[in-house]
Amino acid sequence: MAIIHLTQDGFDKATANGISMVDFWASWCGPCKMLAPVMEDLAGKYEGKALVGKVNVDDEPGLAMRFGVMSIPTVVFLKDGKEFDRKVGVMPASAYTSVLDANI
């Protein structure tokens, strides 16, 4: 499954059930570009187990504000629509998989 680009309108519905991992990013951010292939890879690996989504903070300032994103990339983890963890800055894939694996 490819990564899902989330917008203000579809966000709540898309993340309402189960585990979601959402990457807040922007095109003017080098570290975000570095994280992109990691997220693509995880979207494939966790297909059917978790939703892997992206939010472009440039296009969706409302979502960035709602989640209090102050530095990008920020990866927010949600369970049934509620945030339970987040990782700020680029980290190796294992930092994200450990959170996913512990909650699936």
């Binding site: 003017w28 570290p31 570095m34 102050m70 530095s71 990008i72």
Partner: protein, 282 residues
């Protein structure tokens, strides 16, 4: 994708880079502002073989011209992170990303000490990248702690995109917009609970939601998590190899003496071994 990425454009980095080129491989040197380079600021050097009574700036010019003639590519900017993934190193440089198969760290001496409150608020108001996070602070009060020569330019950019900027630095800022208030202070402290609420700069307190701390380069351990250090320096063996496969280090960042000859010699070994590493890993 480059064969080798060299972080730092001083004597160690350029020496490593020409060595990589001599072995027929591609190399990118990522380097910050010249004004942050200690050699550039040195008035006279008498202990480098073949160059009696030369200024640091003139020596750097010769080194750089040599590297360019050998096909070394150069990019100006500050490397924020390096991440290894599947035999490739991903480097983020401001708003850009580059890839290489091996890395030579030649960052010079980087003080790794943080300011009080800095680490706790990283990602919660403290940022090292104005280009990355500036947009998230439009219309808000931010402070720029300027330690790198390009910090005034970054502060100007934040102002232009709509942040309310106060500049803080140990020296008079060169090239700062006149409508940005500047506070001269060497000691700062990031204030706030969960989020940044202000910055103490000397005896002044600046209320702000964001603090951009702009150093000439990132501390090695933050650049590359898991990198082994020895005190303030990067731990290397005789091949200038670090504890991480494919990562080499040379020059002032590996320890004393902080001299050009030593940096050039170490760069030579690091560049050579990095090229050799690529031949073996094919």
């Amino acid at each position: 994708m480059y064969d080798v990425a060299v972080i730092g454009g001083g004597p160690a980095g350029l020496s490593a880079a020409i060595q990589v080129r001599a072995r027929g491989k591609s190399v990118l040197v990522v380097s910050g502002d010249d004004r942050d380079n200690p050699l550039y600021k040195t008035e006279r050097i008498d202990n480098y073989l073949g160059f009696y009574d030369i200024t640091g700036a003139a020596m750097m010019e010769q080194f750089r011209a040599h590297a360019l003639r050998m096909g070394v590519e150069r990019k100006e900017g500050r490397v924020l992170n390096i991440m290894p993934m599947n035999d490739t190193f991903y480097l983020s440089i401001g708003s850009d990303m580059e890839q290489a198969r091996a890395v030579v760290l030649a960052t010079g001496v980087v003080r790794s000490a943080k300011y009080p409150g800095e680490g706790e608020h990283l990602g919660a108001g403290v940022s090292y990248c104005a280009t990355c996070d500036g947009m998230l602070y439009r219309g808000k009060e931010v402070a720029v702690v300027g330690l790198a020569a390009d910090a005034p330019a970054e502060a100007n950019w934040l102002k232009e995109i709509g942040c309310k900027v106060t500049y803080v630095g140990p020296k008079e800022p060169n090239g700062l917009r006149p409508d940005i208030p500047a506070v001269k202070a060497g000691k700062v402290e990031v204030l706030g609970g969960q989020k940044v609420e202000g910055l103490r700069a000397g005896s002044a307190t600046i209320p702000c939601e964001g603090v951009f701390i702009l150093r000439p380069s990132m501390a090695p351990a933050e650049l590359l998590p898991g990198l082994e250090l020895e005190g303030n320096y990067i731990k290397v063996d005789r091949n200038m190899a670090t504890n991480l496969p494919g990562v080499f280090a040379a020059g002032d960042c590996t320890g004393l003496p902080l001299q050009v000859s030593k940096a050039v010699g170490e760069g030579q070994v690091a560049g050579h071994r990095a090229a050799e590493y690529l031949d073996h890993s094919k």
